[in-house]
Subunit: 117 residues, 2 copies
């Protein structure tokens, strides 16, 4: 833990890792829960047709779409979002993602270090 | 407060507001401390030559650069960062920003709802 130490990291120098419970989806952890006291910043990339299965957990997501287009089920609503759209998914609300663009989709996803609900 | 309600917002539909203690710098609050339980997501834009004065506070920043190029003083180090670079600035470390590109710089900046140090 080095919470008092600045960190500067280029996303493209981090090896993307496959995401469990998903197809065609990879994650890069930019700022981890060991780097920072309150929340972690991750970068997701989804291939065209990529899918993250419906799941739920007692913490929220704050998302910012960088490229491509995603369909996101959030509870009983389903939205579509492209670049420069921010999405807040509350704790304990089931959510599911699909990449619906012909190009790869990418989004930042920030989560708290501890459950918030 | 509607922490249990999803939010979907396009950045460009939010009116940017001037940032105090800065020149040529505007902020859009994408997800506020009233929207979400743990942290707020904001989008900053800086004109070429824009400057955010040296300041310090007992909470951290997690930043992701979207476009342009910034110079950031973080304590006793100064770094330069372009698109797809993430920056963690710890609580209580003085920091200062300059836009050093010929185009506008933009970055996401996430902060906790409560001081973390």
């Amino acid at each position: 833990m080095a919470l008092d130490k600045p960190k500067v990291v280029k996303a493209d120098e981090i090896e993307p890792k496959p995401v469990e419970g998903a197809t065609g989806t990879r994650i890069r952890v930019l700022i981890s829960s060991s780097d920072a006291p309150t929340f972690a910043m991750r970068l997701f990339e989804m291939d065209p047709g990529g899918h993250i299965e419906l799941h739920s957990h007692p913490w929220e997501h704050e998302i910012f779409v960088l490229r491509g287009r995603v369909r996101v089920r959030i509870g009983d609503q389903t939205i579509e979002a492209g670049p420069r759209t921010a999405i807040y998914i509350p704790p304990n609300v089931p959510h599911e993602y699909w990449c619906i663009s012909e190009e790869k989709a990418e989004f930042i996803c920030v989560i708290p270090n501890k459950p918030s609900a």
